[in-house]
């Protein structure tokens, strides 16, 4: 029998002493394994849909492109005009899926657990923007990309969702959470590792 505890994150094979983390000059990178991720799709101009989600999660979905909203412990990233990714604590994704499915039984929407389809690489420290700019074509100047901003973009040759979760003014900031498909995580990890060192 498999031990249910023997779960493996996307970067488990990169762990040193059980931790997937690297530090370099003015930046560090770590895997945030098993963060709950749920794709929600629905009609943003349907006020009932928005109200139902608010009722279920106490969260207003962000409607402005490339932004996010948060009501701890859940945050929502805008991925498209009718698509969001809900982020929640490890292990709580099933509860989020269940409560949304129950609330959204009527009407047209979809809720899909993608917690294992992606992992999160957390990049933090003063050099974060420069490190991202080695592989990301977006304008990441604080005037153009700030706390809470979200983008679907590419870093090197990997599709990612980029989410800034702390400012430069914060301790150890700025912080970026990079969502990457599980099978691309190893590539992206080695990419960042090369740059940080």
């Amino acid at each position: 029998m498999a031990e249910p505890g023997k779960i493996r994150s996307a970067l488990a094979h990169c762990a040193i002493d059980g931790v997937v983390a690297k530090s370099g000059l003015d930046a560090s990178i770590s895997e945030q394994a098993f963060v709950g991720k749920v794709v929600l799709r629905g009609n943003p101009s349907d006020s009932e849909f928005l109200a139902t989600v608010r009722g279920a999660l106490e969260l207003d979905l962000p409607l402005a492109p490339n932004t996010s909203s948060e009501t701890p412990p859940v945050s929502a990233l805008w991925l498209g005009p009718d698509e969001w990714m809900l982020i929640c604590a490890p292990g709580s994704e099933a509860a989020v899926v269940d409560s949304l499915n129950a609330a959204l039984a009527e009407g047209h929407s979809t809720v899909v657990d993608v917690s294992d389809a992606y992992t999160v690489l957390r990049l933090s420290g003063p050099a974060s923007r420069t490190i991202l700019a080695k592989g990301c074509a977006l304008d990441l100047h604080p005037r153009a990309f700030a706390f809470g901003d979200v983008a679907r973009t590419m870093i090197a040759k990997a599709d990612v969702i980029l989410h800034q979760t702390a400012d430069e003014t914060d301790d150890g900031g700025p912080v970026f959470d990079v969502y990457v498909a599980r099978s691309f995580a190893d590539y992206l990890w080695r990419w960042f590792d090369k740059i940080i060192n």
């Binding site: 990997a158 099978s183 590539y187 080695r190 740059i195």
Partner: protein, 1003 residues
């Protein structure tokens, strides 16, 4: 310390306290920090540095910067060697090693120099004319041409250096940090805009660095003081990025600029350490200010290519910036005032200036007046008609010009000299502007091309805009910088105009070819490619009219310098021969890069293990540990087969195939594309994208589907599972996972927005483990004791959810092998643990992991097709013998109409069949062509090709699938696969080789 004979005792921007040893062609020399390789060579009296491309003529340093066509050297050695490096832009460092190119055995004694004697036999188009016939000898010619072609040598070893890349964005990019660029950057920076200012040189200042400072002032101070103040101010601005040693080499669409920053090229190896060697910047600018300066053009006169003959501006820069005397006795030859500054500066440095030879009869400017006052002889209305000297110029012959400027008369005077400083005027450096697709205007007063209307958000300022005076440069630069910042959304006050004091210039006289009394004298137009006026004349005589054709025929303006010095002279000469005006002839395209860019910088970090993403499944480590050989499927690494100690591939695959048929095999199927499809119209949507019907599929049941493109050709296939009334899970082939999702989205978004359906990729959410074989059910039962697995409750093509090895799983009973099979899907994090549990539980059955090769054999034995292997974009379901999956009654589906086209409906299309070779041990090559009759030699009428071919251990013989014209009507026919070793005889069979009744599936 070795003496540097031509080093001036004082002045210059070099550090005499920091001597640097270097070697050139194996000899050791010394220079100083601040030198370029060219200035250090000249300081040691070395003018003769290379051999020309075609005639192998001795050549010396012509320029002092990026325009240099002659002084191209091989730098470094071993893995760290670079060909075609311009000595004029190579910063000197301790231990630098350089060597001449295009000469053998030595620079001074060069066998290839024979080409010069044979030059009459090597006219323009020589290769085209000589090596055309006979065609069969081309392979022989090519060897020699390749050996003769090119200049330097590419390194043969792996590049040991690292290269960085960086994206950047700014409001204003200023290219060039001469007076115009510095003024622009300062004006833009003061508004608070994000500014990048880049310059190819180590030091900012552009032409100001070549100034003596004696004749010009800015705002009552020396130009250098202003320069330093401005740089300091820019460096203090937090949103201004100052990049020296950075060449903006390419201007692409939407103000995207490619820039190469050289980080360690100027350092000895030990100091470079672990830094990246170069950085490629990919910059997007809202506004661009081009302040790229100008490039001096040589005069085209008889024998104008000897070492020691250089551009006047370069001579001046060597004297003032590098404190190097370009010779001991100089002659200056010019058609404009600027060269008089060179005469004055050389004279001030102690060089004996024999005379200034001026093509003009009237010479009125400030600088000529100062030269006369300094006692420099000026010969007005004279021309240099010949030069002498083999490895170094030793003298010039001058004669009086006639009034028209097309002939010379009177007595020839010989002047002895070891240096000739030449100026034919200045060409604005419009390369980047032209790359941006901006059109050039011809300005006839100075015979220059200047930027016309901008096509992109760019403006030109200073010399690159045809404004050569310092005052104009400063004003245009400041205006352009401020205007650019304002357009980018920033506010700034107009700055006061900077006062500049400088000499006033008189008009110039353009004589595109300086007459000589010797009609056979060679006059070089393009030094790098050895193009003379005669070559251009020949091209015109032979009927070439377009300047682009003349360029290709004569090679003028090609090569690494792209005609920086020669182009305007060349097209003016062609215009003269054609009797046309210069603007009517036009200019050739300015191509990126402005100066060469290393492949390393372009590759950046995308090398080695980071060349392309390598995607692994949640069980990837297991496959690695078990010694799997991997196959690339897109970016995925899929286990191909698992050889045991001493096994060949064939033995391993045979073993894996047998195990799957005889006991139980296990396959990692996680790479299959998976798409969650949900919405009230989900079933209707599937009806439209698949050829078969989906409405009546029960919840918890699976169905195989075939997807066509709108042209009726097979695109993808897979099993789709109904999870709920409005909820499906589609699988796609591994390679098409992303493109099928895009395809579905395209139809939903553009054609059927009325359908209420959402598609979400869940490919990577699940680890998918496929087990099959007679013992598969027993194995699953061992790890999933709570599941009911009997054929009555868990029939083929159905699904159950339950615990497998302690993990909540979705299990599909499906088969791609013809055996009883189960596909176990668990969240990816559990994949490895469940896999391990199955391997452990399967041990009593001798569970065997099999790879993609065995999977291919197993499915081929059953005649199951693979989309993309049997089909190639020209194959319909009917061609594949899959009429059964096309439902003509359910309504429209993508590709339906196309299946009725006369071509797709015709009888003699290629159809899927099986092939048996006459010798059962012969395995056909996939891709082999099939013919009815074998001829002695091609061509033969090819009626089809082999799509899949394997050895089948279960049948004990080879099997093949093939697409054959009217194949289904040919069962039993004998055909042939013609191969280099002789034709292989084959018999057409059914494509189902094994268990055609499908009894094993339900066994």
């Amino acid at each position: 310390m070795k003496r540097q004979r031509f080093r001036l005792p004082s002045g210059g921007r070099i550090d005499r306290g920091d001597a640097r040893a270097f070697s050139f062609n194996g000899r050791r020399y010394y220079g100083f920090s601040g030198d370029t390789l060219a200035s250090a060579l000249l300081a040691n009296g070395v003018h003769f540095v290379g051999r020309s491309f075609k005639y192998h003529r001795p050549r010396g340093v012509l320029g002092s910067g990026a325009e240099e066509p002659n002084a191209l050297v091989q730098l470094g050695a071993g893995a760290r060697t670079d060909p075609n490096m311009r000595a004029t832009t190579t910063e000197l460092f301790d231990g630098l090693r350089a060597a001449s190119q295009n000469c053998w055995p030595t620079l001074r004694f060069d066998i290839g120099g024979i080409n010069d004697r044979l030059s009459g036999l090597l006219p323009a188009g020589f290769y085209y004319k000589t090596f055309m016939q006979p065609a069969r000898l081309w392979k022989l010619y090519e060897k020699f041409i390749r050996r003769a072609a090119g200049l330097g040598r590419a390194p043969t070893e792996r590049d040991p250096d690292r290269y960085d890349q960086q994206y950047a964005h700014c409001d204003v990019l200023v290219v060039g940090a001469g007076p115009a660029g510095l003024a622009a950057a300062l004006a833009a920076g003061r508004t608070g805009a994000r500014v990048f200012v880049v310059d190819e040189q180590a030091e900012f200042g552009g032409t100001m660095l070549a100034e003596s400072g004696r004749h010009i002032r800015i705002r009552d101070t020396s130009p250098d003081a202003w320069r330093e103040d401005t740089i300091a101010a820019l460096e203090d601005m937090s949103d201004v990025t100052v990049l020296p040693r950075t060449t903006a080499f390419g201007y692409y669409t939407h103000n995207f600029i490619g820039m190469l920053e050289r980080l360690t090229d100027h350092l000895p190896r030990a100091e470079a350490g672990n830094q990246a060697r170069q950085r490629l910047w990919k910059l997007r600018a809202k506004e661009v200010v081009l302040a790229t300066g100008s490039i001096e053009r040589p005069l085209v006169f008889a024998e104008n290519d000897r070492p020691g003959i250089l551009l006047a501006g370069a001579a001046r820069e060597f004297v003032n910036r590098y404190a190097v005397a370009p010779g001991t006795r100089a002659v200056v030859f010019t058609n404009n005032d600027s060269a008089y500054a060179a005469a004055l500066d050389m004279a001030a440095a102690g060089v004996a200036v024999e005379a200034v030879i001026d093509l003009r009869t009237e010479v009125e400017g400030d600088l000529p007046r100062l030269a006369r006052e300094a006692g420099i002889p000026v010969l007005q209305g004279y021309a240099v008609v010949a030069t002498s000297g083999r490895h170094r110029v030793t003298g010039v012959t001058v004669m009086r010009l006639n009034d028209a400027g097309d002939g010379v008369s009177g007595t020839a005077r010989k002047l002895r000299c070891d240096c000739v400083a030449v100026s034919g005027g200045w060409n604005p450096a419009v390369h980047l502007f032209s790359q941006s697709r901006g059109k050039l205007n011809f300005q006839s007063e100075m015979n220059i091309f200047v930027p016309g209307e901008s096509v992109q958000a760019a403006r030109s300022a200073g010399a690159c805009n045809g404004s050569f005076s310092l005052a104009e440069c400063l004003k245009e630069g400041a205006d352009a910088g401020l205007a650019a910042a304002r357009v980018a959304g920033f506010e700034g006050a107009d700055a006061a105009t900077l006062a500049a004091i400088e000499p006033a210039d008189g008009p110039q006289r353009s004589l595109w070819r300086v007459p000589s009394e010797r009609k056979d004298a060679r006059m070089f137009v393009d030094f790098q490619n050895d193009v003379t006026t005669k070559d251009l004349d020949l091209a015109v005589r032979e009927g070439y009219r377009s300047i682009e054709h003349v360029k290709r025929y004569t090679t003028t303006g090609m090569g690494t310098d792209q005609g920086k010095t020669g182009n305007v002279n060349a097209l003016a000469i062609v215009a003269g021969s054609l009797g046309a005006e210069i603007p009517a002839v036009g200019v050739t395209t300015f191509r990126a890069p402005y100066t060469p860019v290393t492949f390393g910088a372009i590759a950046g970090r995308h090398v080695g293990g980071l060349f392309d993403p390598v995607r692994g499944t949640p069980m990837h480590e297991w496959h690695v540990q078990c010694g799997a050989k991997f196959e690339d499927v897109g970016q995925w690494k899929r286990a191909w087969y698992y050889p045991r100690e001493g096994e060949t591939m064939r033995q391993a695959v045979d073993r894996e195939v047998r195990a799957a048929r005889e006991s139980v095999g296990i396959l990692d199927y996680s790479t299959l594309g998976k798409i969650d499809i949900r919405g009230p119209d989900a079933a209707a949507f599937l009806n439209r994208v698949y050829t078969n019907a989906w409405t009546k599929l029960g919840v918890g049941r699976c169905r195989y589907g075939l997807m066509l493109r709108d042209d009726g050709m097979v695109m993808d296939d897979g099993v789709t599972l109904r999870l709920g009334e409005n909820h499906f899970l589609m699988t796609t082939t591994t390679g098409n996972a992303a493109s099928v999702l895009s395809w579905l989205e395209e139809w939903l978004q553009t054609e059927w927005p009325e359908l209420q359906v959402y598609c979400t990729s869940v490919t990577e959410q699940y680890a998918t483990i496929s087990i099959c074989g007679p013992n598969a059910r027993a194995l699953l039962g061992a790890v999933a004791p709570e599941m009911r697995l009997g054929g009555d409750v868990f029939p083929h093509m159905s699904m159950q959810e339950g615990m497998v090895a302690g993990v909540a799983a979705r299990v599909l009973r499906v088969s791609f092998t013809g055996e009883i099979g189960f596909e176990i899907n668990v969240p990816a994090r559990h994949g490895r643990a469940v896999w391990d549990a199955l391997i452990e539980a399967g041990a009593p059955h001798g569970i065997t992991s099999y790879g993609t090769e065995a999977m291919h054999v197993l499915r081929a034995e059953k005649g199951f097709v693979i989309a993309g292997q049997e089909s190639d974009g020209t194959v319909t379901p009917i061609d594949l013998g899959m009429d059964w999956i096309v439902n003509w009654t359910k309504g429209d589906f993508i590709g339906r109409r196309s299946l009725n086209r006369s071509d797709t409906a015709r009888e003699d299309r290629k159809q899927l069949v099986g092939l048996f070779t006459a010798d059962p041990q012969t395995v056909l090559d996939e891709g082999s062509q099939i013919v009815e009759r074998v001829s002695e030699a091609p061509p033969m009428d090819m009626i089809g090709h082999v799509t899949s071919s394997y050895y089948s251990p279960n049948l004990g013989r080879s099997i093949a699938l093939a697409m054959i014209r009217s194949g289904r009507g040919r069962l039993g026919e004998t055909l042939y696969a013609p191969m280099p070793d002789g034709p292989i005889e084959v018999t057409v069979t059914s494509p189902v080789f094994f268990d055609p009744e499908g009894t094993r599936l339900n066994g």
